[in-house]
Amino acid sequence: MLIVLFSIGFLLATGVCARLFQRTAAGSTRIGAAGAAAGCAVGFMAGLRALLDGHVESLRLPWSIPYASFFIRLDALSAFFLCLIFGISALCALYGAEYLSVERDHETGGSWFFFNALVASMAMVVLAHNAVLFLIAWEMMSLASFFLVTSEDEDPAVRQAGRSYLIATHLGTTFLFALFVLLGRSTGTLDFDGFGAAAGAPSTLLFLLAVTGFGVKAGLVPFHVWLPEAHPAAPSHVSAVMSGVMIKTGIYGLVRIVPYLGWPSVSWGGLLIGLGSLSAVWGILQALSQQDIKRLLAYSSVENIGIITMGLGVWLLGVSLGSPALSLLGLAGALLHVLNHAVFKSLLFLGAGAVVRQSGTRRLDQMGGLLKRMPWTGAAFLIGAAAVSGLPPLNGFVSEFLIYLGAYRGILSLPGASHWPFIVVIAALALVGGLAALCFTKAFGVIFLGSPRRDREVSLHEVGPWMRWPMAILAASCAFLAVAAPWTMARLWPGLLGPLNDVVITALGFSAIALALAGARFWLLSGRSVETAATWGCGYPLPTSRMQYTASSFAQPIVSLFWLPLRLPNLYEPCWRVGERFLKRFRWLQHGRVQLYVLYIMVTLIVLMVWKLG
């Protein structure tokens, strides 16, 4: 516990140092990245120990703010998320050290300050056990990530993305304020422990507030509009942390708070499954029609958050229908997918960042043939692409398998009337699996395979070791987490050892057969003539790279089939227009003079004091 607090403090201190010593960009990068990596490494070890030991530690210090206390608790759920936050952030920091070094000439001190503050505040979010402390950490997290998103603010598109992120995240936080105020009013405390006694509160309303508030942060459809704008705008190592880790704090919030809201009704699980399947299908459809590699990855995060939410829906249905096996499969599948998605999505963002930095473009149709130029990045990206498509023997497959199995168990073990949600889960997961394979064969195939589409691509070279190694470690984790899943999951939930063991044995069997076949192929071809020639073009001898299939033509069959959902207008647009027209009347209040703003604050304070005392 104290070690975790120490690492949070260390992160903040090194962030401040990086900001203070920013005379040379290299110096502040060295301080910021080394501090982040070291702080995260210490925190990761402490979190892992807490997860494996399994006992709960808490610390409560008094605080002068009413209803607030510095109450933090480290239980298994917090420790799980801490490992995730610290582990991924450490790798992204190392990657960022090289990524930012040649990136631009302007100062990097601010970037490292906010990066370290983001990691520290995420850790605080999952530790906080008091609503006030939680909201403060939550706000810090949102603001730090806002400043990171807008770090390239000379680009108007980035400013626009930052604005919509700031508005969305604060609207989401408003729902959380309402949730905690209602909970606090009915229980008389703002400590999470005390929420258990929330008798008489309208629990369905509280649940809706929680789903909206946390759903905005997680990027759940229909609260996802900010996500595909903000994640691509940030520098790639920050996109990796945001997509891999930060949006998962929304999932953490749901898992943490929902059990306090009372016995879940069947409609809660149904709602989560509905929103989850909508997010998954919508996210992957948008992803596969994208031209920009980072937008594609951001939309794929919406898809994966949908899969996780479907798992949470199965969990709640299992609880409300009294089936422990079902709720176990749902919750374990959802949390395992949180971990797996963090690993492969940050891997994919780091790979995309390497490609974008070397080639200078984010447009898929301008790349091609990069596997020969960037073999390390390409291999790592391929592993990430196979994992995100839910293919064995990698980790994405294991967690999707658990959620699938939960849905099939639900159909088998429950009476007919409650089958609908599970049917939706099966159909959505099956459709999304196939579409994800299409989306990521497109991404990998168009970027890395074939021949270069521009002259510039021909002379590209691989990135340096600081960007290569984090990708290699994440790629290895994709395989390791799949093989280790039965043992790690069985440590937390012994009931899962059986189903997962057989899956992993099959995956290992596949790997053994593949190795044997590769050996057989090598033996067959040794000593025989192996020649190279031009690609077969129906007799045409001079194919050029412009004749290749492009990203848009590859996705065309599905895009033309699903034209209706893909062309839906933005539903929030009319609301913004009405709001803007209304708020324009108050524009005279805003004139940019700081003295008057100070006066506003003074007047507000005096009015509040008069109202309170009078």
């Binding site: 199995l405 069997g509 299939y549 065309q556």
Partner: protein, 300 residues
């Protein structure tokens, strides 16, 4: 265990025969003599003795494609029961692993096709990816109906129990229709794809493997035959469970059924033309709807 090994051995050795039977049936309808029944065995033997020619554009992904494709289909063949006896490997949810292994094979076939940089192969890859994404829900919902009916979650126990469909026979027929459409689509048969076409623009599966040669092509052809056997065995298991029988007669009956299925596919290919590309998604979505209806009807 012995029976399961025997069944696996049968799948590994007899699967190329299915394609020979399909081609013989088509030749019979067309009034030709046709190629020998064992043609694919000859082709495989010839290809395995040859060297290889690779496109200059390709990388190791192109060379890994056939190996991973065949390895995943081989692993999948150990999961499928035959003749009413359990398979070598069976556990709750094994059909999900089966579907994902087939997906893995497809993933790498598509990547190998894109690796050549040819627009024809890219076109085939794009169609394969789109159609298989639509076929996946149909397969998994059909298997959900079978699972619901049998109350079990592993293929071996789902398919071997003499299904008590009883008055729910309509559901059984819906499932059979859905899985049959998936079988045709996944194995690139008419009416989804025409393996005998002679124009690269109209092919789906065949065009993806244009650049493969030698042992690589042998791996791909053998993998395709094995995949037809796997999905054929699942289909036969759904419509004709031989669970209650003596294992030897069960095996014989199932063998007769799967060879009959090959004849049936040949008859379909002789009697109907390939569908226009824009008609294929409705066919696959229709299969999914059939599976969904079956799932609703099959409730106890």
């Amino acid at each position: 265990m012995i029976m399961a090994t025997l069944h696996l051995f049968m799948a590994l050795t007899l699967s190329p025969l299915l394609l020979g039977i399909i081609n013989r049936t088509k030749a019979l309808f067309a009034g030709r003599t046709g190629q020998p029944l064992l043609q694919l065995y000859y082709d495989l033997a010839k290809l395995l003795r040859k060297g290889a020619v690779y496109s200059r554009t390709t990388t190791w992904v192109f060379r890994a494609g056939p190996v991973i494709g065949l390895a995943s289909v081989l692993m999948a063949s150990a999961l499928v029961p035959f003749g009413g006896r359990p398979s070598l490997l069976s556990f709750p949810g094994d059909f999900l692993v089966l579907a994902c292994l087939l997906g893995l094979a497809r993933f790498f076939t598509i990547l190998a096709a894109l690796d050549t940089g040819s627009s024809f192969e890219g076109m085939g890859a794009s169609r394969e990816a789109a159609f298989s994404a639509l076929a996946e829900p149909a397969l998994l919902l059909s298997l959900a109906a079978v699972a619901l009916r049998s109350g079990r979650l592993s293929l071996s126990s789902m398919l071997v129990s003499p299904l008590a469909w009883g008055h729910l026979a309509p559901a059984l027929w819906l499932v059979a229709a859905a899985v049959f459409v998936v079988l045709l689509a996944e194995n690139a048969r008419v009416p989804v794809d025409d393996p005998a076409t002679h124009l690269e623009l109209t092919m789906i599966h065949e065009v993806m493997v244009l650049d493969h040669s030698g042992p690589d092509l042998a791996f791909i052809l053998y993998g395709a035959a094995l995949k037809l056997w796997i999905l054929g065995a699942v289909w036969v298991g759904i419509v004709a469970p031989f669970g209650g029988m003596n294992p030897w007669t069960g095996t014989l009956f199932a063998l007769a059924a799967i060879l009959g299925l090959a004849v049936f596919i040949g008859v379909i290919e002789s009697l109907m033309a390939r569908l226009r590309l824009s008609r294929i998604p409705p066919l696959l979505v229709g299969a999914g709807v059939c599976a969904l209806l079956a799932l609703l009807v099959a409730r106890p």
